[in-house]
Amino acid sequence: MITSFFEVCREFPVAVLCGCLLAVTCGCFGVFVLMRRLGFISIALSECSACGIAAASLYGFSPLAGATAMTLLAVCALSTDWERLRIPRDSILGTVFVFASALSVLLVSRSGMGLLEVKALLYGDLLLASKHDLMQISLIHLPLLGLLLLCLRSLLFAFMDSAGARVAGISVRVLELAFFVALGMLISSAAKTAGSLLVFCYLVVPPATGLLLSRRLWAVMLLTVFCGVTATLIGLTASYHWDLAGNQCIIIVACVLLGVLPSIKALVVRMFH
């Protein structure tokens, strides 16, 4: 297994780097998504991104442009204050998700692609990541991560107590919109390479593990990154070793970590107290 790990690093360095980068950036954003109790927005935006890629393949323009346009359109729609219209936000997220899923299938069915091409297009495969993909993701994700870290304290205040933050002079609406636009850009640039399911996993599963393991924000973020990167490395190694699908292996490992690490923590706490 250890030999397989080194072989994966040697044979698929771009996939390993891409996966680790996505685990870091999506994980940090995911912590805020979960704290805002909007985990489902990640899958809705991922699906919109896949829909944009499908539209791009049919009409012959850049997949990144298609994914970004569709995702930002969804962000604008979701930024409406739906709760004032007495509609739960979850129902809107669900509607966006099923609409984007159905439209993706309709668009690719018109493009004349084969099943494998469609699957690769909509669900991506990290192992197929190219240097261009890595460059593209780095150029988009690293500045977004930097912005998130710069606005971390204001964003935390705005998400935790929006009225209190507004009284303190923080532009909560602008900050929230900027966060969700950044999230949309993050997802749309990652979905083509990693696939919507893996991006959703990075945004939800490692942050949930981090939140279960610690009650300190910085520790939560570091643990999230640790779990995401560990799941990527173990998942890719397992995929190489047993000839399995890479993305799905990463997702399974991330979910296993979510189930196992909090139990280990509880056991350790019990032993030392």
């Binding site: 710069l150 205040f157 935790m160 009225a163 209190g164 303190a168 939140l211 924000l217």
Partner: protein, 231 residues
Amino acid sequence: MEQGCNIIECRDLALAYGQDTILEHVDLDIRPGGLLPFVGANGAGKSTLFKALLGLLPPKNGEIRRLWGKACPGYVPQQQHIDPIFPVTVRSIVAMGLYPECGFLRLLSKEQAERLDATLSHFGLAEHQGKTFAELSGGLRQKTLIARAVIGNAPIIFLDEPVAGLDAASEEAVLELLIDLCRHQGKTILIAHHRLEDLSRLSPQVCLVGHGKAEVLPSETAYGRLRGGMA
């Protein structure tokens, strides 16, 4: 009441959510340096009036003059509005009260960090500063939010139902804290609450909110009206 001595003045104020008018024809003059309870039944419009006074809700009609200067007011929301899922310590929550005077990164200077330590000690929170909001009792949560509102040296503090859900001892501790802030630090303290009995001893006047109106009355008069079912 003489104009120019007040910290808040409202003239012919009307507040609404969409087509639903909550309060109208409200004229208020609030003097600085006292404690004024806003009393009324649940849903009477106390929180709505607070939102408008804080600038969070634009008036449908009329005018609000906020005369406390450039400083941000202190605000203590109802504690159930703070989601305990957030992994933030008591120290970080109280530090948020200093954000209006911090730079873009919201990093504290040495003087601000010292002020934070002093505030945590003053409110008896020093030993709890490493705990998260979820790990605190109701009384300590309320103290944390009051400390956050006070640390920025705000001249006026709005508290929305600060003793709701607290046991008698915690309620007493919180009210003592507010009286101390009012008497020794000269703060103007506005409290929204749904029971007059708890607060009438704190102030000779109350603002009675109900039936679409809000008016400042002597406590005795307000109590009489409440017993008569007029608010």
